[in-house]
Amino acid sequence: MKFEYKVQGGNFSKAGYASSDLKKILKQLNVNPAIIKRVVVALYEAEVNIVAHAYNGTITIDIDDKQVRIVLEDQGPGIPSIEQAMQKGFSTASPHVREMGFGAGMGLPNIKKNADVMNITSKVNVGTTVEIINYI
């Protein structure tokens, strides 16, 4: 089953909408709460990254009886070095983003920790695509 969400860069008040919706869906499907927690944390971090670092994006979620597959595709500045971005504590967050309480450089490592599979591709000045897969 497929779900789609639009994400707007800079709109922090709406950040987390997709992840809390996904949480409700997975609860309805009786997915193990521990797995729900992992999926939701991973999606939340990726969702906030679009809001904090990109211009806008689309989240598609595909659920079957084996896995939850999430793809976040954004138009934005892209990531020059993914290896560097994946390091704990690395952040280019603007002062404004830091003011909102983000920018610890923990988002991507946290996604890695909570996803069973994580793939990230990016093109500078075009955008970033993050794929998250969790088995249920």
Partner: protein, 451 residues
């Protein structure tokens, strides 16, 4: 309503009085009501006996199963076990003494207050808080909240306090008192004067704990009226009885919002009103809030003064109870005296509370997914007005009912119209199935559609 079902309920619909409107349907916090054949029908597995339907019913069709005063006379010793909100119904010129006297005139031989065991109970709760791993610990004072957690927040059942209720502990103490006087339990009837249906259910069908010491319950509304009548003759009557007031100031205010939370261990919050409680539990469930130690949650606005069987205005009751509490100067200053009630900790522990319903659409993920796809598909066609015309509270619940074979898509009149498959007469049948025969005929005497 009936004892043969696996879930006992104190609330039932009087089908003869029900006029078949959507008020209860729309206001049920667990979406447990559907309209069938023109009258409200309550789903027994998810009803939490909160009484919201009673509050909004214009036809007085939501009734409560309860004992009557006559039944107390089967016992030699007749104990009225009262919550403090009973005294809170009266103006301060009516003394506690007079209320007790009136209860004796009504036939009770003894009066005890539910909250007498509060100071003892909170010590046990604090001990429980220290031993449990699950934060925040959720108070079980309000039985409607316990049911809400079982039905809507199954993952939080492990956070509920596993200590007996005030009613049960006080009842244990009452029986102990009588035992010391050499009186056998068979001769004693303990009648709880209840402010709400939820407490009736807690007594008749306790969660976790198996047995109850309470003989029956009588509505606070009924007792209040009877006491008021007796108050008029009380000064001419000479009645002597054992005066025993064991409450502290804190205990008088226990059933008010914040009355319990104040004495719990650590950081605590008190939240009243079902909508507020649900909002917060959603948050606890979503974000795993674990830096709060204790949640005092009460179904009614203003807690028990807002109980559906309390006749007085809830705000005035809060004020009056506050003033009554301040009269307890001698015992008071809000700190605890050594409790007069004392039981070993193990004697007041209860077994874990289990979720009541499997959450979600199905226990099998594949089946649940199929159902969810169907629900989403149906909601594409439903108008999204949430009008209640199908007999379900909203389009989404209706779609779920259809998927679970509990309703037919044709119950939606808008869908009938846009599909154009059903002829007029056939369509009418579906409407009559939900709203009853002849519902579509002209009727100038009906109770609905009036200002």
């Amino acid at each position: 309503m009936n004892n043969t079902s696996s879930f006992y309920h104190a609330i039932y619909i009087d089908k003869d009085s029900c006029i078949g409107c959507t008020r209860c349907l729309k206001n049920c916090p667990t979406k447990s009501i559907r309209i069938v054949q023109g009258v409200a029908d309550i789903d027994e597995s998810s009803c939490i006996d909160c009484g919201e339907c009673m509050r909004v019913c214009l036809a007085n069709a939501v009734k409560i199963e309860q004992g009557c005063l006559e039944s107390i006379f089967k016992y030699k010793y007749r104990v009225a076990l009262i919550p403090t909100v009973l005294s809170g119904q009266f103006n301060l010129d009516v003394t506690t003494d007079q209320i007790y006297k009136a209860l004796h005139l009504l036939g009770f031989t003894h009066v005890y207050e539910e909250e007498e065991s509060a100071e003892f109970q909170i010590e046990a709760i604090r001990k429980f808080q220290k031993e449990t791993y699950n934060a925040p610990v959720i108070s079980t004072f309000c039985p409607a909240i316990v049911r809400l957690v079982q039905v809507r927040f199954p993952t939080l059942t492990g956070n509920l306090v596993l200590i007996k209720s005030l009613i049960d502990i006080t009842a244990m103490a009452i029986l102990e008192d009588f035992k010391e006087k050499g009186i056998s339990p068979d001769e004693i009837g303990i009648f709880y004067i209840t402010p709400c249906p939820a407490k009736i259910v807690a007594i008749k069908s306790p969660v976790g704990d198996k047995k109850t010491l309470i003989t029956d319950t009588i509505s606070l509304e009924v007792i209040y009226d009877l006491i008021r009548k007796k108050l008029q003759v009380i000064n001419e009557t000479d009645i002597s009885y054992e005066s025993r007031i064991h409450l502290t100031k804190a205990e008088v205010k226990w059933s008010l919002t914040g009355g319990e939370a104040k004495h719990a261990f650590g950081r605590s919050l008190s939240i009243d009103g079902l909508a507020n409680v649900t909002e917060f539990l959603d948050k606890v469930d979503d974000e795993a809030i674990d830096d709060i130690d204790f949640l005092e949650l009460r179904a009614c606005d203003q807690s028990c003064p807002g109980g559906v069987l309390c006749p007085g205005n809830r705000f005035l009751t809060v004020e009056k109870l506050g003033m009554r509490a301040s009269q307890f100067n001698a015992v008071d200053n809000e700190c605890f005296e050594a409790p007069t009630i004392d039981f070993p900790y193990e004697d007041v522990c209860v077994p874990p509370v289990l979720p009541r319903q499997q959450a979600g659409l199905d226990s099998n993920i594949s089946v649940a997914l199929k159902k969810m796809e169907k629900v989403h598909n149906y909601t594409c066609y439903l108008p999204g007005f949430d009008c209640g015309g199908c007999g379900a509270p909203d389009c989404y619940s209706f779609a779920k009912d259809v998927v679970n074979d509990k309703a037919s898509l044709s119950n939606c009149v808008f869908l009938q119209f846009s599909n154009n498959i059903l002829d007029h007469e056939h369509g009418k049948k579906f409407i009559e199935n939900v709203w009853g025969k002849n519902r579509l005929q002209k009727d100038c005497t009906k109770k609905g559609a009036r200002e």
